[in-house]
């Protein structure tokens, strides 16, 4: 297993947000974490990378317990994180944004260079010197993923990569994520857009009120409409 989460409980101050969350991700797998807003998707990701102050349980990444490590150490072990609100450095150019994310290459993970990323996201290659703040939402979403890939992670957490993007851009995003998978990356993405998630994922979890309610393959999810309707229903 690439990433294993056992009985994760998280708190914001006195508020208990996650309850006994169990998630596992195999090497090279794309796993979707589905659920409505406020269900706990972002909190799960933030807990994994150590951005939530109080968390209990066990998070094992590449066989090592990272539960109580500080954020930068977790990231340096090859666990990349792309936050939902993109958080581009608007005063820095595209190239400088990529420079901030740069980390040394590591075994067992694809190695990314700016040039290689410009082929994955051709738009970015055309605007290397542009300030992050002068890019459209779709371009910023590409940049935030590219920036995290510069850390040469072996697993990436993508928080709502399709949110707020035009359908056409979402299709491009799906292709980029499949290309990342082909490079051997393991990917966990949180999503509300089921159409998008099933295009690219191998397996899915459904989270609701801080608890995991379903875990299985995309096929199993499609064959159980009652689960889909209960937690994701349109």
């Amino acid at each position: 297993m690439k990433l294993e989460i056992h009985k994760l409980n998280s708190y914001y101050g006195p508020a208990h947000i996650l309850f006994d969350v169990d998630i596992s991700v195999g090497t090279g797998e794309v796993v979707a974490l589905l659920g409505r807003n406020g269900a706990g998707k972002s909190t799960t990701f933030r807990s994994i990378v150590g951005l939530v102050a109080r968390r209990e349980g066990r998070i094992v990444f590449d066989g090592e317990d990272i539960t109580n490590r500080p954020t930068h150490e977790i990231v340096r072990r090859g666990l990349g994180y792309v936050p939902e609100d993109r958080r581009i450095f608007t005063e820095l150019t595209v190239e400088e944004n990529l420079m901030v994310g740069a980390q040394p290459a590591r075994d067992g993970a694809p190695c990314w260079t700016p040039e290689k990323l410009y082929t994955l996201f051709p738009n970015l290659g055309e605007m290397r010197g542009r300030l992050g703040g002068r890019m459209s939402g779709g371009e910023q979403q590409m940049l935030t993923i590219a920036r995290t890939l510069m850390g040469n992670p072996s697993l990436v957490l993508l928080d709502e990569p399709s949110e707020g993007l035009a359908p056409k851009i979402v299709e491009e995003m799906a292709n980029a994520i499949l290309a990342m998978k082909n490079e051997g990356l393991s990917i966990v993405l949180s999503e509300q857009n089921l159409h998008f998630a099933r295009l690219i994922s191998d397996r899915a979890y459904i989270i609701e009120s801080g608890r995991i309610r379903f875990g299985g393959t995309i096929r199993e999810l499609e064959e159980s409409p009652e689960i889909r309707d209960a937690y994701l229903a349109v």
Binding site: P14, I17, P70, Y81, E91, E96, V100, G151
Partner: protein, 648 residues
Amino acid sequence: MEFFVVQFLTGLASAASLFLVASGLSIIFGVTRIVNFAHGAFYMLGAYVAYTLTERFEGFFGFWGGILLAALVVAAIGALLEIVLLRRIYRAPELFQLLATFGVTLMVQDLVVMIWGPEDLVGPRAPGLRGAVDILGLAVPTYDLFLIVLGPLVLGALWILFHRTRWGVLVRAATQDRDMVAALGVNQTWLFTSVFALGIFLAGLGGALQIPRNAVTHLMDLSIIVEVFVVVVIGGLGSVLGAFIAAVLVSELNAFGILVFPKISIVLVFLVMACVLIVRPWGLLGRPEGPARQPAGLSIRPWHPMSPNQRLLMLALVVVAGFVPLVAGNYVLTVLAEIAVFALFAASLHFLMTVGGLASFGHAAYFGLGAYGAAFATTMFGAPMVASLLLGPLLGVAGAILFGWFCVRLSGVYFAMLTLAFAQIAWSIAFQWVEVTGGDNGILGVWPASWASSPAAFYWLALAVSVAGIAALRVLVFSPFGYALRATRDSALRSEAIGIDRARVQWAAFIIAGTFAGIAGALFAFLKGSVFPDNLAIPMSVDGLVMVLLGGIETVSGAVVGAVVYKALAIWLVSQTDLSKLVLGAVIVLLVVAFPKGIVGFAEDLMARRRARTDDGGAALAAPAKAAPAAPGSGAAPIAAPKMEAAR
């Protein structure tokens, strides 16, 4: 003509040190969001340490090595301060760090006198640069020319550092979003420490380089910190090039102001600063800050008016305070009267800062104007005390109407800096317009009427006015106007969208706060029997800030508690020890670390936690967020971390 050229060169030479110190402050603020009040103290330390080192090690290498080593020593002290103190309080409300660094400044002031003595020290001249160069027939010190060259060199070096090194790019990234930098694998703890050390190094270097030009004194920290604030604000926070341009501008204004407008030489710089801020609110080269940052005083624990029981308790406290003269002596009564006056002053600032989200760094202006107003009424027009107490604050009101109109056009740190500039303008007028204000000698003979001249009577008067004022401010907080004011603080966007005229509401709040400060000032004039420019100087404004922050900026009643604790402590310490600043500074630092939400904020947290426990009835602490609506109005509000963080 020749003379002007030389004067110009002198100005440029002064600009070098000013630029070094200001760029350091700007860099530190950019990344850590700390307005480092102790920056002047480190500048002063740089000068003192350089003095000691250059006295010890003579010769060319002794001198230049000593200057560099002094800056490094000071940078190391700065790094230590960051590691020991600041790391603990980065998550505290904004401005709270200002309080901590202010405490450090107080400590350094006493420490410096302890180590180096109170006399001015004259350092050695720079080896190799002792002479003067003949320019247009006038002698210009070679050392000045060296400084003129050094400034642009440092500017260039900093530019390369920030644009051509990975460390520099990381710093610029962290300036914008430090959490995201950590989420990309950068150890931000050490990034912060290194940035802080660099900023302090620049301050120390600026101080060390001054020793061949000026005597080293234990007052040089306050004089530079004000100028540095001005430079950073004119140049634009976070812009190193802006700091350079502004340093030159300010130094030349100083150099020529004294020649061209000797009468208003001190005001000139602040007038320019006010003009720049009005035309370009974010400074010459700064960028407008996004509105997303959480304003001061924004609490997520909704406020409630006092319950009948709490009101009874307050009434009982006031009654007890009213009986104090039966048991206390004259000295104690005078001290208590002063505390009452400052409680009102702090409450007025609190109204602006907490309810309005507008942190004023120059609130003493309206306090001082009220005091001068009362003094004018008494000494010039011979008005009786009651009339003076009514008329005096009008001067504070007038000042608030005029200055406030400009100030409310800005927000955040820039608002704070413009209020500081206006306060300095008011101070300069009081200081330089000797014919009317008596200048440094102040106005004496502002004595209370005979019925209020005994300490007990004046104490009752001060208590009555202060309690009435504080009660009025509290009524305002919960009035429709108070809600409008909080609305402009919470979300300017939403307020505009529901028909609220933000500038007008905030202007009104500014005037209200100025009015009550003016009332406190008028009382203060009669308490002391005199007024001085000090009444509207920066230390007085800082006192107000300390009281509000110490009490707790997110609470309704913090200011009064903060004022009582701080003022009582300060007065008591002065009577007990020669090192009162050292002790007071240390106490402030300890309080900041122990109670990052202020004294009242801490108490409220404690009560909320206790209540949450009893609400649960011993059951497992499950999802108290859901328990909250079950107890409406209890004030027991768990935090809402996720949303607040997302809002950044």
